[in-house]
Amino acid sequence: MSALADSSVRRIGAQVLRYWYLLRGSWPRFVELAYWPTVQMIMWGFITIFFTTHSSWIAQAFGVLLAGVLLWDTLFRAQLGLSVSFLEEMWSRNLGQVFVTPLRPWEFLASLMTMSIIRTLIGVLPAMLLAIPLYGYSVFDMGLPLIAFFVNLMVTGWAVGLFVISLILRWGLGAESLAWFVIFGLAPISCVYYPIATLPDWLQYVALAIPSAPVFEGMRGVMLDGVFRTDLFFLAAALNVFYLALGSAVFLWTFHQARRRGLLLQMGE
């Protein structure tokens, strides 16, 4: 590895270590990470059990609903993981310290994404594992496609997170609440629990322009038809590349504006 790449890895590692110290030192943060995915899984599991006794179609879709819950939470946690790590810097008024070190903005983003992976795994893995003894359902039975869905949803979460932290960087902590609810605006058109065809025609085009809808459609393809739809996979991947690049560009532009307006030293509660 070149010296430059080595120093980048070291700086990214330093930021990850900073967030890890914070996470490790706070059991409520740990509990919070695992709490909602577990609660959601339990709630939806029982809802699904109820429907299985009342609908023959739903009876076939037990795993589809549960997998939808778990993968939706992956998307939500990925976005939240990135946004909250950024908010930690804002809450501690630390941005001015961080950005006078040799840490490049792209390295900063890489550290946020790394923490997003860690936080998401801590959040959703217990729920995924708990579903096995509770419902005899294992999301891991999807096999390799699960990795494709997981990676795509992580990247979608990062892209949304990049737009969110750009708004927070521009507008300050007054925009903090965006981190908690903005992703839910995508839920209806992500088609987590129903096929894209359920939507009105015009809305189907909107759904196919966001990466999460083809992921969940692909998930149903695997679970109901036993087919991994590569067309949906590549559509989601291409959309993710586009939105991640756009989100990164928006963040870097906002960062430049923050340097122009003197926001980096003023951020805080």
């Binding site: 330093a14 110290y21 706070s26 003197g262």
Partner: protein
């Protein structure tokens, strides 16, 4: 042991007698407000320059532009020969900064904070270096305490320890002895003097403490309403204003600013 960061980034562009810091026609405007107006000065290597002025004089804005945190509306900042607007990553590992107004993460222990920043600056032998600065700034008993639990004076010393981790060639200090008791402040000033004598570092200091400025600074830039209104050694300024201390000089200039504003 040499704990300075390894020169991982591109080679530093430093022709022979380049000053550590050269500020040329530096200006910052926010709409109609001019926070810093056509400021020019240089800091040769191994010297200490003080930025002095009342509240709103433009000291913090100037420091922010020196660090590259704030983009100037016009003018130029060259640190160790590098343009701080376009090329600051080439030198950020060789400078550092401390301010009581910019916090370190409060829920991390002091040691964790110093370790993270040591890694960010690429400090070699980081644990030994943490011990070294902790001893020098007498914060060893604080190392395993949460930063947020410290008093203001303790936080000031921890922030200074962070600033010393990479043995900076240029050290930018915003009120480095704020909240310190007179005895601790005196020892911190002694530490800075020793450090400069040992390493030849350049220090840029913004302070309201006139005794500190008289003791540490060889060159003082007096600012008012964003402009440099005077400049010289503390002794020369005291003589010029017909006063006996820098505090009296400062009051003369600050009162002139109030009259200007009125």
């Amino acid at each position: 042991m040499d704990t300075r960061p390894a020169p991982l980034d591109a080679a530093s562009p430093e022709p022979g007698d380049t000053p550590a810091l050269a500020v040329t026609n530096l200006t910052k405007r926010y709409g109609d407000l001019t926070a810093v107006d056509d400021l020019s000065f240089a800091a040769p290597r191994g010297t200490t320059v003080g930025l002095l002025g009342g509240n709103g004089a433009g000291k913090t804005t100037t420091l922010s532009m020196l660090l590259g945190l704030l983009l100037p509306s016009a003018g130029d900042v060259r640190m160790l020969g590098c343009d701080m607007v376009r090329d600051r990553y080439r030198v950020l590992g060789r400078i550092n900064f401390s301010s009581p107004y910019v916090e370190l993460p409060l829920r991390l222990s002091v040691r964790q904070n110093l370790r993270v920043y040591g890694l960010l600056y690429g400090v070699r032998g980081i644990e030994a270096r943490i011990t070294e600065v902790a001893q020098a700034l007498e914060i060893e008993p604080l190392l395993d305490r949460k930063t947020g639990k410290l008093s203001s004076g303790q936080k000031t010393r921890v922030a200074l320890a962070k600033a010393m981790l990479n043995e900076p060639e240029v050290l930018l200090l915003d009120e480095p002895t704020a909240s310190l008791d007179p005895d601790t402040a005196d020892r911190v000033r002694g530490y800075l003097e020793d450090y400069q004598a040992r390493t030849g570092a350049t220090i840029v200091l913004a302070s309201h403490n006139m005794a500190e400025v008289e003791r540490l600074c060889g060159d003082v830039v007096m600012m008012r309403a964003g402009r440099m209104v005077d400049r010289g050694t503390p002794r020369a300024l005291i003589e010029k204003y017909g006063r006996t201390t820098m505090e009296e000089v400062f009051l003369d200039i600050a009162r002139a600013q109030r009259e200007l504003e009125a």
